[in-house]
């Protein structure tokens, strides 16, 4: 397995600078503006998530980067190459996995990969080893001689990923790779992506399911209506958009004890409410320091706190906040 993965490691980057740079990208379909002045910078290495609802322009953006869609305005650079003026240089460096699986009936998994390897000009002698290594990587070695049209959805997605990797690209562009997968297949896919990310591949991955990206991405861009609303590490975006936080507290004792917590919180200037299930929710505005002070105060007052949890919310919460903050 390790041999396989090492053989897939991309060649050393030819130059410095971001893996993908998009500036002012515009794409219209007739009257519909799918991507509107989109700009983003995807640094080299790591996994970059593109989050947004269906129709936000994720696929259009990815197609533009992957040389598959002529865009109306803007500049795109993939490792310094321009998809418009030098599409073949871009194609050599990227592996693209669409949000669908293109089936050639009557081909086995190995033949399917061999065909695409040949389409990337891999020599015949190299191809056999490459195909075997990729099937191993995506756990399809056992399906080597099975007709591709007979694969399950999860297997198709993994084969599709293997196809995107067939020419050892440095950059991977994965459009909704986990859509339609069951939880198990999703976890398997995530493991493979993390593995690839740790090898130095730059991975651009899109999804409208935030939980999917949360465990995966180093950096994210939040998209809506063809624009990037926020980008950076999840922490950076949090810092940018989430000034207020929420703490959920559970204490031992009866209702009076809970009222006492509310009073203490009020004493520090925070608004607290008691939920029907007995949890106390405190709205904080002062960040981590305020939370720490509140906890210290409670303990000092003799409240038996057994759960003190900061409800920062994952990307999901962040996403709702960001999109609400801009468009709401």
């Amino acid at each position: 397995m390790t041999d396989t993965l090492e053989s897939l490691a991309p060649p050393p980057p030819p130059m410095d600078g971001p893996a993908i740079e998009v500036r002012g990208l515009v794409k219209r379909y007739g009257r519909l503006t799918a991507v509107n002045e989109l700009s983003m910078t995807i640094p080299r290495g790591g996994i970059f998530g593109l989050i947004g609802p269906n129709g936000a322009g994720k696929t259009t953006t990815m197609l533009s980067i992957a040389t598959l869609l002529p865009y109306d305005a803007g500049e795109v650079r993939v490792l310094g190459h321009d998809p418009r003026s030098d599409p073949y240089a871009v194609r050599r460096t990227i592996g693209w996995m669409p949000d669908f699986f293109g089936v050639y009936e009557g081909l086995t998994c190995a033949e399917y990969l061999d065909f695409f390897a040949a389409s990337y000009h891999l020599a015949r002698a190299e191809r056999a080893a490459q195909v075997a290594g990729l099937l191993e990587l995506v756990n399809l070695s056992g399906k080597r001689d099975v007709d591709v049209s007979g694969l399950s959805r999860g297997m198709q997605q993994r084969l599709s990923l293997a196809r995107a990797l067939v020419h050892d690209p440095e950059v991977l562009i994965l459009d909704e790779p986990a859509s339609g997968l069951d939880p198990r297949a999703r976890i398997e896919l995530r493991e493979i992506l993390l593995e690839l990310g740790s090898q130095g591949h730059t991975i651009l991955v899109s999804s409208h399911i935030l939980a999917e990206l949360e465990e995966l991405c180093d950096r994210v861009a939040i998209m809506e209506s063809g624009r990037v609303l926020a980008q950076g590490t999840p922490d950076e975006i949090r810092g940018q958009f989430l000034t207020a936080g929420q703490v959920t507290i559970r204490v031992l004792g009866d209702a009076d004890e809970r009222e006492r917590v509310v009073a203490i919180a009020a004493g520090t200037g925070a608004a607290a409410t008691i939920r029907a299930d007995g949890r106390i929710v405190v709205e904080l505005t002062g960040g981590d320091a305020e939370a720490a002070a509140l906890l210290a105060r409670l303990v000092r007052e003799g409240v038996r706190v057994h759960d003190f949890r900061e409800e920062r919310g994952g990307l999901e919460h962040l996403f709702m906040t960001v999109t609400k903050g801009i468009v709401g």
């Binding site: 598959l68 073949y88 293109g102 809506e224 999901e316």
Partner: protein
Amino acid sequence: MRAWLSDNPVMRRELLERWRGRRGFVILTAYLAAVTLLVMGMAWIISSWIHNQAEFSGDGFVAAAGPTMGRGIFENLLALVLFFVLFFTPAYAASQVSGERERRTLSLLQVTLVRPSQIVAGKLLASVAWLLVLIVAAAPIAATGFFMGGVNVSDFVTGLALIVIVAISVAAVALGLSSITRKTTTSIVLTYIFVLSLLIGPLFGALVEAAFRDFEFDNDQRPIALYAEPYYGLADAVGADRFDVFNGDFPSLMLPFAVLLPEPRVALFDEAPAVGREIVVDDFGGVAQDLPGFFPEAPEPEVSRPPVWEITAAIHLLLGALGFLLATRNIQPGRGPRWRMSRAERAELTAATAVTVGPPPLEVAQAALPPMDAGLVEPPPPPPPQQEAP
């Protein structure tokens, strides 16, 4: 060139897909069975024709039975092979690009390093390889004319060569039509319309042209439109005789086209040195004869055959080249049938604007929705066209 031919992954995959399993075997068997039955039927018809003629002409005619049979089978069979080629090509070649679009594999191919011309060449060669199999499979049967008589090798070779050229041309045009259509059914219909107009169009064109010229043609001159007709070219390529019927030969399917062939141009007194030769003018034109015994150094008579099948081949190669260019152009990313959203896709998009973020608070989801809708479904009015063009 190597990347186009032997080392073309697209061609290899097409051939693999095509010939794997029993499909190729079944189609080829059915085709050969049909050809065999037709040839047997023809042999039966021709032999009864020969018997019938013998009753009028006496037993002497039977001596020519072999060549009559050989010619008849040869011409009719090649006419049928051309028909099969025209009939089969659309079914296969017309699905080549639109089929990739439908299976959503075209973009997977576009993102690789294979050039558009390589994709089209691979698909063309794979389509033509299949047609070549049909043509070559029928060749031994057509070659029966060699031992029955009546057919010479050059008729055989030029006839098959023209059929191959027409096959390549029709396949290339089918690829071109396939590249501009979204659905395979559309491209198949378009290709059949093309084939049909290739068969019938030149005849109408010739009539119109003749009408414009008040039906005045020199002996070696024919309406230009006629040369595009594959059967006209084939009649010339196989050396079909325009006077078959009158000679007692069996009239083949090519006769209607053969009678339209331009007459051979014979060098007459004023064009060729008349020294040592005599022109005997018979009912059907002129035949130059050497006077035996005199002037042995006299030149051969110059009976020049006006080119027909060569022109037909050139017209078809040109059509094929246009089809190839069309396909190469439209197989590039962002080309081909406009990537426009259909009404259904638009409706789907509208319905799908809800964000899948688990169960979000209802009021938040609703707050987020209208602006999204506004951006997606009712986009701001597009800028005036003159601003769009840089």
